[in-house]
Protein backbone atom coordinates (compact mmCIF):
# COMPACT_ATOMS: atom_id res chain seq x y z
CA UNK A 1 0.00 0.00 0.00
CA UNK A 2 1.41 3.37 -0.98
CA UNK A 3 0.34 6.69 0.50
CA UNK A 4 0.35 10.36 -0.44
CA UNK A 5 -1.68 13.40 0.52
CA UNK A 6 -1.96 15.71 -2.48
CA UNK A 7 -5.41 16.57 -3.79
CA UNK A 8 -6.97 15.23 -0.60
CA UNK A 9 -9.09 18.28 0.14
CA UNK A 10 -10.78 18.00 -3.24
CA UNK A 11 -11.34 14.26 -2.91
CA UNK A 12 -12.70 14.53 0.61
CA UNK A 13 -15.01 17.43 -0.24
CA UNK A 14 -16.60 15.24 -2.94
CA UNK A 15 -16.92 12.10 -0.84
CA UNK A 16 -20.47 11.39 0.44
CA UNK A 17 -19.05 10.75 3.93
CA UNK A 18 -18.59 14.51 4.27
CA UNK A 19 -22.03 15.47 2.92
CA UNK A 20 -23.46 18.04 5.30
CA UNK A 21 -20.42 18.08 7.59
CA UNK A 22 -19.17 21.55 8.61
CA UNK A 23 -16.08 22.41 6.60
CA UNK A 24 -14.06 22.97 9.77
CA UNK A 25 -14.54 19.34 10.74
CA UNK A 26 -13.66 18.15 7.28
CA UNK A 27 -10.41 20.05 7.44
CA UNK A 28 -9.76 18.63 10.90
CA UNK A 29 -10.38 15.06 9.71
CA UNK A 30 -8.23 15.73 6.66
CA UNK A 31 -5.35 16.13 9.08
CA UNK A 32 -5.68 12.40 9.83
CA UNK A 33 -6.16 11.35 6.18
CA UNK A 34 -3.91 10.02 3.43
CA UNK A 35 -4.39 8.59 -0.06
CA UNK A 36 -3.56 4.96 -0.67
CA UNK A 37 -3.56 2.51 -3.55
CA UNK A 38 -3.90 -1.26 -3.06
CA UNK A 39 -3.21 -3.71 -5.85
CA UNK A 40 -5.55 -6.59 -6.65
CA UNK A 41 -4.88 -9.48 -4.29
CA UNK A 42 -3.17 -7.40 -1.61
CA UNK A 43 -4.58 -7.09 1.88
CA UNK A 44 -5.63 -3.76 3.34
CA UNK A 45 -5.80 -5.22 6.83
CA UNK A 46 -6.04 -8.58 8.56
CA UNK A 47 -8.37 -10.00 11.16
CA UNK A 48 -7.10 -9.39 14.68
CA UNK A 49 -4.84 -6.48 13.78
CA UNK A 50 -5.31 -3.27 15.76
CA UNK A 51 -8.07 -1.23 14.13
CA UNK A 52 -6.05 1.96 14.05
CA UNK A 53 -7.35 3.08 10.66
CA UNK A 54 -10.54 3.19 8.69
CA UNK A 55 -11.05 3.70 5.00
CA UNK A 56 -13.17 5.49 2.45
CA UNK A 57 -13.08 3.54 -0.77
CA UNK A 58 -12.73 5.90 -3.72
CA UNK A 59 -12.74 3.33 -6.48
CA UNK A 60 -12.28 -0.41 -6.66
CA UNK A 61 -13.60 -3.37 -4.74
CA UNK A 62 -12.54 -5.09 -1.52
CA UNK A 63 -13.62 -8.48 -0.17
CA UNK A 64 -14.10 -9.05 3.54
CA UNK A 65 -12.92 -12.57 4.23
CA UNK A 66 -12.89 -15.02 7.08
CA UNK A 67 -9.80 -17.17 7.18
CA UNK A 68 -10.53 -20.88 7.63
CA UNK A 69 -7.56 -23.21 8.17
CA UNK A 70 -7.20 -25.76 5.37
CA UNK A 71 -9.85 -24.14 3.18
CA UNK A 72 -10.23 -21.20 0.89
CA UNK A 73 -11.23 -18.11 2.87
CA UNK A 74 -14.98 -17.40 2.97
CA UNK A 75 -16.02 -14.06 1.51
CA UNK A 76 -18.82 -12.57 3.61
CA UNK A 77 -19.20 -9.20 1.91
CA UNK A 78 -17.68 -7.03 -0.78
CA UNK A 79 -17.40 -3.26 -0.59
CA UNK A 80 -17.02 -0.83 -3.46
CA UNK A 81 -16.81 2.81 -4.48
CA UNK A 82 -17.81 5.39 -1.88
CA UNK A 83 -18.26 2.82 0.88
CA UNK A 84 -16.81 3.02 4.36
CA UNK A 85 -14.60 0.18 5.48
CA UNK A 86 -13.62 -0.99 8.95
CA UNK A 87 -15.78 0.42 11.69
CA UNK A 88 -13.95 -1.59 14.38
CA UNK A 89 -11.87 1.50 15.15
CA UNK A 90 -14.91 3.02 16.92
CA UNK A 91 -15.29 0.44 19.65
CA UNK A 92 -12.87 -1.19 22.07
CA UNK A 93 -10.94 -3.43 21.80
CA UNK A 94 -10.23 -1.75 18.42
CA UNK A 95 -9.43 -4.95 16.50
CA UNK A 96 -10.20 -5.69 12.83
CA UNK A 97 -12.91 -8.34 12.39
CA UNK A 98 -12.04 -9.60 8.92
CA UNK A 99 -9.31 -9.87 6.34
CA UNK A 100 -9.83 -7.13 3.75
CA UNK A 101 -8.42 -8.09 0.36
CA UNK A 102 -8.54 -5.92 -2.76
CA UNK A 103 -10.27 -7.70 -5.66
CA UNK A 104 -9.07 -5.11 -8.13
CA UNK A 105 -6.82 -2.07 -8.02
CA UNK A 106 -8.43 -0.02 -5.27
CA UNK A 107 -7.95 3.64 -4.36
CA UNK A 108 -8.64 4.47 -0.76
CA UNK A 109 -8.44 7.27 1.70
CA UNK A 110 -7.01 5.96 4.95
CA UNK A 111 -7.90 7.76 8.13
CA UNK A 112 -5.75 7.55 11.19
CA UNK A 113 -8.18 6.37 13.86
CA UNK A 114 -5.91 7.01 16.83
CA UNK A 115 -5.58 10.64 15.80
CA UNK A 116 -9.31 10.95 15.09
CA UNK A 117 -10.38 9.21 18.33
CA UNK A 118 -8.37 11.79 20.29
CA UNK A 119 -9.99 14.67 18.40
CA UNK A 120 -13.45 13.16 18.95
CA UNK A 121 -12.80 12.82 22.68
CA UNK A 122 -11.86 16.48 22.82
CA UNK A 123 -14.87 17.58 20.77
CA UNK A 124 -18.00 15.45 21.26
CA UNK A 125 -19.84 17.37 18.54
CA UNK A 126 -17.25 16.11 16.07
CA UNK A 127 -17.60 12.68 17.66
CA UNK A 128 -21.36 12.76 17.15
CA UNK A 129 -20.98 13.87 13.52
CA UNK A 130 -18.70 10.90 12.86
CA UNK A 131 -20.92 8.42 14.75
CA UNK A 132 -23.93 9.67 12.80
CA UNK A 133 -22.15 8.69 9.60
CA UNK A 134 -21.10 5.28 10.85
CA UNK A 135 -24.27 4.13 12.65
CA UNK A 136 -26.38 3.80 9.45
CA UNK A 137 -23.56 1.87 7.77
CA UNK A 138 -23.30 -0.55 10.68
CA UNK A 139 -27.10 -0.92 10.80
CA UNK A 140 -27.37 -1.52 7.04
CA UNK A 141 -24.62 -4.17 7.15
CA UNK A 142 -26.32 -5.91 10.06
CA UNK A 143 -29.65 -5.96 8.19
CA UNK A 144 -27.93 -7.26 5.04
CA UNK A 145 -26.12 -9.97 7.01
CA UNK A 146 -29.43 -11.08 8.53
CA UNK A 147 -31.01 -11.26 5.09
CA UNK A 148 -28.12 -13.40 3.92
CA UNK A 149 -28.89 -15.68 6.89
CA UNK A 150 -32.41 -16.35 5.59
CA UNK A 151 -30.85 -18.36 2.76
CA UNK A 152 -33.71 -17.16 0.60
CA UNK A 153 -32.63 -19.04 -2.51
CA UNK A 154 -32.39 -22.35 -0.67
CA UNK A 155 -34.53 -25.28 -1.82
CA UNK A 156 -38.13 -24.93 -0.60
CA UNK A 157 -38.72 -26.87 2.59
CA UNK A 158 -34.99 -27.32 3.25
Amino acid sequence: MTGETHGLDRILARHPFFDGMPEGYRVLIQGCAANAVVKAGDYVYREGEPADRFYLIREGRVALEVYVPGRKPIVVDTLGSNELMNWSWLLPPYRCHFDARALELTRLITLDAVCLRAKMDEDPVLGYAVYKRFAPVVAARLAAARRQLTDMYGAPGS
Binding site: R71, K72, A155
Partner: protein
Protein backbone atom coordinates in the same frame (compact mmCIF):
# COMPACT_ATOMS: atom_id res chain seq x y z
CA UNK B 1 -42.21 0.67 3.48
CA UNK B 2 -42.51 4.26 2.37
CA UNK B 3 -45.22 4.59 -0.22
CA UNK B 4 -43.72 6.99 -2.71
CA UNK B 5 -46.47 9.13 -4.18
CA UNK B 6 -47.16 8.58 -7.85
CA UNK B 7 -44.59 10.71 -9.63
CA UNK B 8 -47.02 13.36 -10.72
CA UNK B 9 -44.42 16.07 -11.26
CA UNK B 10 -42.12 14.14 -13.59
CA UNK B 11 -42.18 14.20 -17.34
CA UNK B 12 -43.31 10.60 -17.27
CA UNK B 13 -46.49 11.32 -15.39
CA UNK B 14 -48.61 9.03 -17.55
CA UNK B 15 -50.40 6.40 -15.48
CA UNK B 16 -48.55 3.13 -15.31
CA UNK B 17 -50.22 0.29 -17.14
CA UNK B 18 -51.23 -2.91 -15.51
CA UNK B 19 -50.05 -6.09 -17.16
CA UNK B 20 -52.34 -6.88 -20.07
CA UNK B 21 -54.88 -9.64 -19.84
CA UNK B 22 -53.66 -12.33 -22.20
CA UNK B 23 -55.62 -15.34 -21.09
CA UNK B 24 -58.87 -16.28 -22.76
CA UNK B 25 -61.74 -16.27 -20.29
CA UNK B 26 -62.01 -19.27 -17.99
CA UNK B 27 -62.43 -22.88 -18.90
CA UNK B 28 -65.23 -22.30 -21.36
CA UNK B 29 -62.68 -23.09 -24.06
CA UNK B 30 -62.09 -26.80 -23.57
CA UNK B 31 -58.71 -26.93 -25.36
CA UNK B 32 -57.24 -24.71 -22.67
CA UNK B 33 -57.52 -27.79 -20.45
CA UNK B 34 -56.13 -30.28 -23.01
CA UNK B 35 -52.34 -30.58 -23.14
CA UNK B 36 -50.67 -30.56 -26.58
CA UNK B 37 -47.85 -33.06 -27.03
CA UNK B 38 -44.34 -31.58 -27.40
CA UNK B 39 -41.08 -33.44 -28.02
CA UNK B 40 -38.01 -32.73 -25.95
CA UNK B 41 -35.32 -31.61 -28.40
CA UNK B 42 -32.61 -30.67 -25.98
CA UNK B 43 -31.86 -30.74 -22.28
CA UNK B 44 -29.26 -28.42 -20.74
CA UNK B 45 -28.13 -28.64 -17.15
CA UNK B 46 -27.83 -25.02 -15.97
CA UNK B 47 -26.86 -25.35 -12.32
CA UNK B 48 -26.91 -28.33 -9.96
CA UNK B 49 -30.69 -28.56 -9.48
CA UNK B 50 -31.87 -26.57 -12.51
CA UNK B 51 -32.16 -27.56 -16.15
CA UNK B 52 -33.62 -26.16 -19.37
CA UNK B 53 -35.84 -28.04 -21.81
CA UNK B 54 -36.21 -27.09 -25.45
CA UNK B 55 -39.50 -28.39 -26.78
CA UNK B 56 -41.11 -28.56 -30.20
CA UNK B 57 -44.78 -29.31 -30.89
CA UNK B 58 -45.37 -32.74 -32.43
CA UNK B 59 -47.71 -30.95 -34.81
CA UNK B 60 -49.29 -27.58 -35.30
CA UNK B 61 -47.92 -24.09 -34.90
CA UNK B 62 -45.24 -23.08 -32.40
CA UNK B 63 -46.32 -21.67 -29.08
CA UNK B 64 -46.16 -17.89 -29.35
CA UNK B 65 -45.94 -16.20 -25.96
CA UNK B 66 -45.40 -12.90 -24.21
CA UNK B 67 -42.44 -12.47 -21.81
CA UNK B 68 -43.53 -13.51 -18.31
CA UNK B 69 -46.17 -15.99 -19.39
CA UNK B 70 -46.10 -19.58 -18.23
CA UNK B 71 -47.28 -22.98 -19.38
CA UNK B 72 -48.65 -25.97 -17.54
CA UNK B 73 -46.11 -28.66 -18.26
CA UNK B 74 -47.44 -32.19 -17.94
CA UNK B 75 -45.26 -35.18 -17.31
CA UNK B 76 -47.52 -38.04 -18.33
CA UNK B 77 -48.41 -40.30 -15.43
CA UNK B 78 -46.71 -38.02 -12.89
CA UNK B 79 -48.29 -34.59 -12.83
CA UNK B 80 -48.54 -31.08 -14.10
CA UNK B 81 -46.60 -27.98 -12.97
CA UNK B 82 -46.59 -24.29 -13.82
CA UNK B 83 -43.32 -23.28 -15.52
CA UNK B 84 -42.49 -19.92 -17.05
CA UNK B 85 -41.26 -19.68 -20.60
CA UNK B 86 -37.57 -18.70 -20.53
CA UNK B 87 -36.93 -18.53 -24.29
CA UNK B 88 -36.70 -15.71 -26.78
CA UNK B 89 -40.18 -14.33 -27.54
CA UNK B 90 -39.01 -13.37 -31.03
CA UNK B 91 -38.08 -16.99 -31.75
CA UNK B 92 -40.95 -19.11 -30.51
CA UNK B 93 -40.18 -22.10 -32.79
CA UNK B 94 -38.74 -23.83 -29.76
CA UNK B 95 -40.49 -23.61 -26.46
CA UNK B 96 -37.78 -23.08 -23.84
CA UNK B 97 -38.51 -23.73 -20.16
CA UNK B 98 -36.13 -23.70 -17.22
CA UNK B 99 -36.99 -25.90 -14.29
CA UNK B 100 -35.67 -26.21 -10.77
CA UNK B 101 -36.14 -29.67 -9.29
CA UNK B 102 -37.86 -29.12 -5.93
CA UNK B 103 -40.54 -31.81 -5.62
CA UNK B 104 -42.04 -34.95 -7.14
CA UNK B 105 -43.00 -33.61 -10.57
CA UNK B 106 -40.04 -31.32 -11.20
CA UNK B 107 -37.64 -33.96 -9.89
CA UNK B 108 -39.13 -36.61 -12.20
CA UNK B 109 -38.61 -34.16 -15.08
CA UNK B 110 -34.86 -34.29 -14.54
CA UNK B 111 -34.99 -37.74 -16.17
CA UNK B 112 -36.35 -36.32 -19.47
CA UNK B 113 -34.13 -37.06 -22.47
CA UNK B 114 -34.31 -35.83 -26.07
CA UNK B 115 -37.14 -37.62 -27.84
CA UNK B 116 -39.37 -37.79 -24.77
CA UNK B 117 -42.87 -36.34 -25.05
CA UNK B 118 -44.50 -33.98 -22.54
CA UNK B 119 -47.86 -32.22 -22.54
CA UNK B 120 -48.10 -28.43 -22.70
CA UNK B 121 -51.05 -26.17 -21.94
CA UNK B 122 -50.89 -22.44 -22.37
CA UNK B 123 -49.34 -19.97 -22.53
CA UNK B 124 -51.16 -18.39 -19.62
CA UNK B 125 -51.07 -15.27 -17.51
CA UNK B 126 -50.40 -11.59 -17.78
CA UNK B 127 -46.97 -10.75 -19.17
CA UNK B 128 -44.30 -8.24 -18.19
CA UNK B 129 -45.39 -4.85 -19.57
CA UNK B 130 -42.48 -4.63 -22.02
CA UNK B 131 -44.23 -2.48 -24.62
CA UNK B 132 -45.91 -0.25 -22.04
CA UNK B 133 -42.62 0.68 -20.35
CA UNK B 134 -40.94 1.79 -23.57
CA UNK B 135 -39.28 5.15 -23.01
CA UNK B 136 -38.34 4.33 -19.44
CA UNK B 137 -35.14 3.15 -17.79
CA UNK B 138 -35.52 -0.57 -17.07
CA UNK B 139 -34.24 -2.23 -13.90
CA UNK B 140 -34.51 -5.99 -13.80
CA UNK B 141 -33.94 -7.63 -10.42
CA UNK B 142 -33.72 -11.43 -10.41
CA UNK B 143 -33.17 -13.82 -7.53
CA UNK B 144 -32.09 -17.40 -8.16
CA UNK B 145 -34.27 -19.22 -10.71
CA UNK B 146 -36.34 -16.00 -10.89
CA UNK B 147 -34.06 -15.02 -13.74
CA UNK B 148 -35.83 -17.62 -15.94
CA UNK B 149 -39.20 -15.80 -16.21
CA UNK B 150 -37.31 -12.53 -16.74
CA UNK B 151 -35.08 -13.81 -19.54
CA UNK B 152 -37.72 -13.31 -22.28
CA UNK B 153 -38.32 -9.75 -21.07
CA UNK B 154 -34.58 -9.03 -21.12
CA UNK B 155 -34.27 -10.46 -24.63
CA UNK B 156 -37.27 -8.43 -25.77
CA UNK B 157 -35.82 -5.20 -24.36
CA UNK B 158 -32.30 -5.79 -25.71
CA UNK B 159 -33.70 -6.61 -29.17
CA UNK B 160 -35.39 -3.19 -29.11
CA UNK B 161 -32.69 -1.44 -27.14
CA UNK B 162 -33.36 1.97 -28.70
CA UNK B 163 -36.89 2.02 -27.28
CA UNK B 164 -35.65 2.11 -23.69
CA UNK B 165 -33.47 4.33 -21.53
CA UNK B 166 -30.79 2.86 -19.30
CA UNK B 167 -31.02 -0.89 -18.74
CA UNK B 168 -29.70 -2.45 -15.53
CA UNK B 169 -29.81 -6.16 -14.73
CA UNK B 170 -29.24 -7.05 -11.09
CA UNK B 171 -28.98 -10.72 -10.20
CA UNK B 172 -28.64 -12.46 -6.89
CA UNK B 173 -27.79 -16.10 -6.33
CA UNK B 174 -26.93 -18.28 -3.39
CA UNK B 175 -23.35 -19.12 -4.38
CA UNK B 176 -21.30 -18.62 -7.55
CA UNK B 177 -22.21 -22.20 -8.59
CA UNK B 178 -25.90 -21.24 -8.54
CA UNK B 179 -25.69 -18.38 -11.04
CA UNK B 180 -28.16 -19.15 -13.80
CA UNK B 181 -27.55 -18.32 -17.49
CA UNK B 182 -23.92 -17.30 -17.01
CA UNK B 183 -23.33 -17.19 -20.75
CA UNK B 184 -26.22 -14.79 -21.25
CA UNK B 185 -25.07 -12.63 -18.35
CA UNK B 186 -21.59 -12.40 -19.81
CA UNK B 187 -22.97 -11.52 -23.23
CA UNK B 188 -25.38 -8.91 -21.88
CA UNK B 189 -22.69 -7.50 -19.59
CA UNK B 190 -20.35 -7.17 -22.58
CA UNK B 191 -22.77 -4.73 -24.26
CA UNK B 192 -21.84 -1.11 -23.72
CA UNK B 193 -25.48 -0.12 -23.40
CA UNK B 194 -26.43 -2.47 -20.57
CA UNK B 195 -25.20 -2.76 -17.02
CA UNK B 196 -25.11 -6.19 -15.41
CA UNK B 197 -24.32 -6.81 -11.76
CA UNK B 198 -24.30 -10.16 -10.02
CA UNK B 199 -23.96 -10.81 -6.31
CA UNK B 200 -23.97 -14.00 -4.28
CA UNK B 201 -24.90 -14.59 -0.66
CA UNK B 202 -21.76 -16.58 0.03
CA UNK B 203 -18.55 -17.40 -1.77
CA UNK B 204 -15.03 -18.60 -1.20
CA UNK B 205 -11.99 -16.55 -2.12
CA UNK B 206 -11.82 -17.91 -5.69
CA UNK B 207 -14.83 -15.74 -6.61
CA UNK B 208 -13.90 -12.29 -7.81
CA UNK B 209 -17.40 -10.89 -8.02
CA UNK B 210 -19.59 -9.25 -5.43
CA UNK B 211 -20.82 -10.82 -2.22
CA UNK B 212 -23.88 -9.57 -0.39
CA UNK B 213 -27.66 -9.49 -0.72
CA UNK B 214 -29.14 -8.49 -4.07
CA UNK B 215 -30.72 -5.38 -2.56
CA UNK B 216 -27.20 -3.97 -2.10
CA UNK B 217 -26.94 -3.67 -5.89
CA UNK B 218 -29.92 -1.35 -6.11
CA UNK B 219 -28.25 1.66 -4.48
CA UNK B 220 -25.42 1.77 -7.03
CA UNK B 221 -27.16 0.66 -10.23
CA UNK B 222 -27.18 3.23 -13.01
CA UNK B 223 -30.82 4.23 -13.53
CA UNK B 224 -32.96 7.27 -12.87
CA UNK B 225 -35.39 6.33 -10.11
CA UNK B 226 -37.92 8.91 -11.31
CA UNK B 227 -37.97 7.42 -14.80
CA UNK B 228 -37.38 3.73 -14.19
CA UNK B 229 -39.72 0.77 -14.29
CA UNK B 230 -38.59 -2.30 -12.37
CA UNK B 231 -39.28 -5.96 -13.14
CA UNK B 232 -38.71 -8.23 -10.16
CA UNK B 233 -38.83 -12.00 -9.81
CA UNK B 234 -37.45 -14.34 -7.17
CA UNK B 235 -38.33 -15.89 -3.83
CA UNK B 236 -41.02 -13.96 -2.01
CA UNK B 237 -38.69 -12.67 0.73
CA UNK B 238 -36.38 -11.36 -1.96
CA UNK B 239 -39.30 -9.62 -3.68
CA UNK B 240 -40.25 -7.94 -0.41
CA UNK B 241 -36.76 -6.62 0.32
CA UNK B 242 -36.19 -5.64 -3.30
CA UNK B 243 -39.41 -3.64 -3.59
CA UNK B 244 -38.48 -1.86 -0.39
CA UNK B 245 -34.99 -1.01 -1.64
CA UNK B 246 -36.32 0.18 -5.03
CA UNK B 247 -38.92 2.29 -3.28
CA UNK B 248 -36.28 3.72 -0.90
CA UNK B 249 -34.29 4.78 -3.95
CA UNK B 250 -37.36 6.57 -5.33
CA UNK B 251 -39.03 4.09 -7.70
CA UNK B 252 -42.74 4.44 -6.95
CA UNK B 253 -44.73 1.26 -6.35
CA UNK B 254 -46.78 1.72 -9.52
CA UNK B 255 -43.58 1.39 -11.56
CA UNK B 256 -42.55 -1.89 -9.91
CA UNK B 257 -43.82 -5.14 -11.41
CA UNK B 258 -43.38 -8.48 -9.68
CA UNK B 259 -44.09 -12.05 -10.74
CA UNK B 260 -45.81 -14.12 -8.06
CA UNK B 261 -46.04 -17.88 -7.61
CA UNK B 262 -48.87 -19.87 -6.11
CA UNK B 263 -49.70 -23.52 -6.55
CA UNK B 264 -51.81 -24.02 -9.65
CA UNK B 265 -54.19 -26.54 -11.05
CA UNK B 266 -56.40 -25.29 -13.87
CA UNK B 267 -54.31 -22.20 -14.76
CA UNK B 268 -57.39 -20.60 -16.34
CA UNK B 269 -59.09 -18.89 -13.43
CA UNK B 270 -61.49 -21.72 -12.70
CA UNK B 271 -60.47 -23.76 -9.67
CA UNK B 272 -59.29 -21.09 -7.23
CA UNK B 273 -56.14 -22.98 -6.27
CA UNK B 274 -53.87 -20.06 -7.00
CA UNK B 275 -55.84 -17.53 -4.98
CA UNK B 276 -53.79 -14.58 -3.74
CA UNK B 277 -55.94 -12.17 -1.78
CA UNK B 278 -58.70 -11.11 -4.14
CA UNK B 279 -56.94 -12.34 -7.28
CA UNK B 280 -56.06 -15.56 -8.98
CA UNK B 281 -52.37 -15.66 -9.86
CA UNK B 282 -53.02 -17.63 -13.08
CA UNK B 283 -55.53 -15.15 -14.46
CA UNK B 284 -54.70 -11.79 -12.84
CA UNK B 285 -50.96 -12.51 -12.65
CA UNK B 286 -48.39 -13.92 -12.44
CA UNK B 287 -47.11 -10.40 -13.18
CA UNK B 288 -48.68 -7.79 -10.93
CA UNK B 289 -48.09 -4.07 -10.62
CA UNK B 290 -46.89 -3.88 -7.05
CA UNK B 291 -49.12 -1.03 -5.84
CA UNK B 292 -52.11 -3.28 -6.61
CA UNK B 293 -50.95 -6.02 -4.27
CA UNK B 294 -48.89 -4.07 -1.71
CA UNK B 295 -51.56 -4.53 0.97
CA UNK B 296 -51.32 -8.30 0.59
CA UNK B 297 -47.62 -8.24 1.27
CA UNK B 298 -48.34 -6.78 4.67
CA UNK B 299 -50.60 -9.75 5.47
CA UNK B 300 -49.13 -13.11 6.42
CA UNK B 301 -50.13 -16.45 4.88
CA UNK B 302 -52.13 -15.34 1.88
Amino acid sequence: MRMAPADAATAAARPMPEPRQETAPAARTPDLMAPRPFTVERVTRDVSDTFTLELRPLEGPPLAFQPGQFTMLYLFGVGEVAISVSGDPDRPERLVQTIRAVGPVTRAMTALKPGAVVGVRGPFGRPWPCAEIEGRDVVVVAGGVGLAPLRPAILHVLARRGQYGKVALLCGARTPKDILFRRDLRRWGGRLDTSVAVTVDRASAGWHGQVGVVTKLIGHAPFDPEEAAALVCGPEIMIRYTVQALNDRGVSLDRIYVSMERNMKCAVGFCGHCQFGGSFVCRDGPVFRFDRIADRFAVREL
